[in-house]
């Protein structure tokens, strides 16, 4: 016989003002199995909790119903209180009579009736609650960081600092990411390479950090604390252990017409290459799409000049399998492709560049050695037009609906740097809004306007037309002066929107994490869990979660590291006991549940059963791994025999609630 205690909270006047709590307690006291029904001013206060604890002991309760605020608020509080009084915490149910009753209704009579019904539903459910025990699973003391940009590097360094082994997987031949391509950083104007490269070196020298460059994650299995990840090390045709990074092969390689990705294709590299001078790891990589030896077997210059014999044309992709306790995603961003923006003539005119290309053009290690020259005729530009929000804040299908966040600031930076270095150059910036929230950001933007006389014009550029005399005609509207403008520009710089890296979506599928419609990873809670993904053990770092500037990225990277460390220090973790389980006696092994499980938690095993005629038979039945199951319940509905059920939200419990509400 169940012995249930009902506790109705006044929540000061939050509940008591619109719900007659005494009537609720009285009515619920008559429900079958209820032995005590009380109301109290603040049930979540210490004395309120003591009231519950004492009642559990005194009446030897087998179930507790708290009529109070949302279970999202205080379910854990009351579960802990029940556990402290010796009752299984999963025998506590909450009836939400604040957020879903007293706060939304005005009429006391109907609100009280509704509160009673909600209470009855909770009582009906708690009758069927079963005591649950959370299981434990061990934690592998190693973390994986996917992506080796500034976010990944910072996360890895912080985790390594705490004494845990970390692996960085980077798809490019070097770590460093986008920050390595940037010339100066806002708002301090310090050199990006000067602050990034020491961190890259630190990461490569740290005994706890292993860098898998030119590698990709191809498979992720397992669950929090116990991921098994397969990493593909792509063939780079150079033995990493032998290569000293001397660069002799890159000098001698006869194939010199390969577009240089690091310089955004503005100049060429050789087929065997080291991405940039400070690359980490500093080893050469052979590009199989251009290498003549790999394409038609005729060349072999690099292997002849290599003094250590590191060149290996027969190298194959290799695979590493490793166990990890936590995974941090730091896949970063890319500027969008501007193919669809014909109005800006990006594909037609070499002097229309994106901001990241301008970044390379102005970089001392860039194609022009730091002198700003037009890509077309290598002359000095005298009039530069910046176009903001190219693809950002767009409501059509061409662009992105969100604000890319960093463009306003880097455009101010570019404008300022150009005016500083070349005072004879006029700079125009066309904007929709200038958004400068951030420490010292608005001051920085105002400096660009006031001190450097950058012409900021509110309005969008309608058309960019390259002319035969080499100038570029920019047609735009000035919204504040309400006039049409024509500017004869020498260069046009487009602040292209940023989007998540293309590898993010397949990765999210592998990790079973959520993404939003723009392919940014979704955090578990936008305010309270900003660096965790909704999948336990997977953390988010940097721009893969949303557009971010460098300080924010680093802050998030460290936060993700702290969360990962918090997981790795544990020897074992408690699992959510509200998981699916099947009744093996009735399971017919049809695989319906396995197909709908998003976590791969259901496997099939052959089990021996005793049949009614005393023979034994081997049958294939579903078995749920409780450590992998997240408790969504998809399988419970898919099961044609109805034998798959979910702890805490069982078929009979929900039916009982429906019945109680519809009575």
């Amino acid at each position: 016989m169940q012995r249930i205690g009902v506790f109705v909270c006044h929540c000061g006047t939050n509940i008591a003002a619109t719900v007659d709590v005494k009537t609720v307690a009285e009515a619920l006291g008559h429900e079958p199995g209820v032995v005590i029904s009380q109301d109290y001013q603040y049930m979540c206060s210490e004395s309120g909790q003591n009231l519950v604890k004492n009642a559990i002991k005194e009446h030897n309760l087998t179930g507790v119903v708290i009529c109070s605020c949302s279970p999202r608020m205080h379910e854990n509080t009351f579960r802990k209180a029940a556990a402290a009084a010796g009752l299984n915490p999963y025998l506590v149910e909450i009836a939400n009579i604040r957020e879903q009753c007293s706060w939304i209704h005005k009429d006391i009579a109907t609100a009280t009736d509704k509160a009673i019904i909600l209470g009855k539903a909770a009582v009906a459910k708690v009758h069927l609650n079963a005591p649950l025990t959370a299981g434990e699973s061990p934690v592998a003391k190693r973390a994986l960081v996917i992506g080796g940009g500034i976010a990944g590097i910072q996360t890895a360094l912080d985790i390594a600092e705490a004494g845990f082994d970390v692996d960085i997987v980077e798809k490019q031949p070097t770590i460093g990411g986008k920050m390595a391509q940037i010339d100066k950083t806002f708002p301090t104007l310090d050199c990006a390479a000067c602050i990034l490269t020491p961190k890259m070196v630190e990461a490569s020298q740290n005994e706890h950090i292993t860098i898998h460059s030119f590698s990709e994650v191809t498979d992720v299995k397992g669950f929090v604390g116990n991921f098994t990840v397969t990493i593909k090390k792509k063939a780079c045709y150079v033995d990493e252990t032998k290569c000293t990074g001397c660069g002799l092969c890159t000098e001698k390689c006869p194939m010199k017409k390969v577009p240089n990705e690091f310089n955004m294709g503005l100049d060429n590299r050789t087929a065997v290459y080291i991405p940039f001078a400070q690359a980490v790891p500093k080893v050469a990589t052979i590009d199989p799409n251009y290498c003549m030896m790999l394409k038609n077997g005729k060349c072999g210059v690099c292997s002849k000049v290599c003094s250590v014999g590191a060149i290996d044309y027969k190298q194959q992709d290799s695979f590493i399998e490793q166990k990890y306790g936590a995974i941090v995603v730091a896949t970063g961003f890319n500027p969008i492709k501007l193919d669809k923006y014909d109005e800006f003539a990006y594909n037609q005119c070499p002097d229309v560049v994106t901001s990241l290309e301008l970044e390379r053009l102005m970089n001392a290690a860039g194609p022009n050695g730091g002198t700003l020259l037009r890509p077309s005729d290598k002359t000095h530009p005298h009039k530069i037009v910046f176009v903001q929000c190219v693809g950002s804040r767009c409501d059509d299908s061409k662009g992105k609906p969100y604000c890319s966040k960093i463009c306003c600031m880097y455009t101010a930076k570019h404008a300022m740097l150009i005016r500083e270095k070349y005072p004879d150059t006029e700079v125009y910036v066309f904007y929709i809004d200038v958004r400068t929230p951030g420490k010292n950001f608005d001051e920085f933007y105002r400096r660009a306007v006031e001190q450097y006389n950058v012409h900021y014009i509110k309005g969008m550029v309608g058309k960019v037309t390259p002319r035969s005399d080499g100038k570029i005609d920019v047609q735009a509207s000035d919204l504040l002066a309400d006039e049409q403008l024509h500017i004869d520009a020498d260069m046009v710089v487009l602040a292209a929107a940023i989007e998540p890296d293309k590898t993010a979506r397949p990765l999210a599928t592998m990790l079973t994490t959520q993404m939003d419609t723009n392919d940014f990873f979704t955090e578990a809670h936008p305010k309270l869990h900003p660096v965790e993904s909704a999948t336990a053990g997977i953390f988010l770092s940097g721009a893969c979660q949303g557009p971010k500037d460098i300080p924010e990225t680093v802050a998030q990277a460290s936060a993700a590291a702290a969360k990962a460390i918090g997981l790795l220090v544990k020897n074992s973790i408690t699992c959510n006991p509200c998981v699916a389980h099947s009744n093996e006696l009735m399971c017919n092994g049809c695989s319906s549940c396995e197909k709908v499980c998003p976590y791969g938690a259901i496997t099939y095993e052959d089990k021996e059963f005793r049949m009614p005629d005393r023979t034994t038979a081997i049958r294939r039945v579903a078995s749920v791994n409780p450590a992998v199951c997240q408790g969504c319940g998809a399988c419970t509905v898919a099961c044609p025999s109805g034998v798959m059920d979910l702890n805490g939200f069982s078929n009979s419990q929900i039916m009982a609630e429906v019945d109680a509400i519809c009575k």
Partner: protein, 148 residues
């Protein structure tokens, strides 16, 4: 059967809300004091895909006048793909219910995120009005279950 003609018909509406989005959205409409009728009674489920068609049939059998199912927006499911199952299952179920005489307006699937408290309240107001217009559900109601 006594029908009180003077009293306005008050439908009974069962709302299944997923724990991660819609239940939180319902909480948010409470926090923002956005009113919706007391007719709506919410049942919390971990994911909209936990809602077995049996629960909905049971609700109609026991006298519910409308059933609404709320989950995370497509693509935003906490469990990656649960709401896609919901969408497909409920399309089938609702067309079958329609065939059985349970009007389309009595059943609904709505995507409400944890941030859409206003949408939750508006949906519930709208849905309650729609069900109110249709009158009581007599088609599937099991009179043996009716409270005397």
């Amino acid at each position: 059967m006594q029908v009180n003609e003077n009293k306005e018909f008050e439908p009974l509406i069962v709302a299944f809300c997923c724990n991660w989005c819609s239940y939180a959205g319902a909480d948010l409409s409470g926090t923002n004091r956005l009113n919706y009728p007391t007719n709506v009674k919410i049942i919390r489920v971990p994911c909209s895909c936990r809602v077995n068609p049996m629960f909905i049939l049971r609700a109609f059998q026991r006298g519910a006048d409308g059933v609404i199912l709320c989950g995370c927006h497509p693509g935003d499911c906490h469990y990656t793909s649960g709401n896609y199952f919901t969408r497909r299952r409920m399309t089938l179920l609702f067309s079958m219910l329609d065939f059985l005489g349970i009007e389309r307006d009595r059943t609904r699937v709505e995507w409400v995120s944890a941030a859409e408290g206003a949408k939750f309240a508006a949906t519930m107001n709208e849905f309650t009005e729609a069900v109110k217009k249709l009158g009581p559900n007599r088609r599937l109601e099991d009179l043996r279950c009716r409270k005397q």
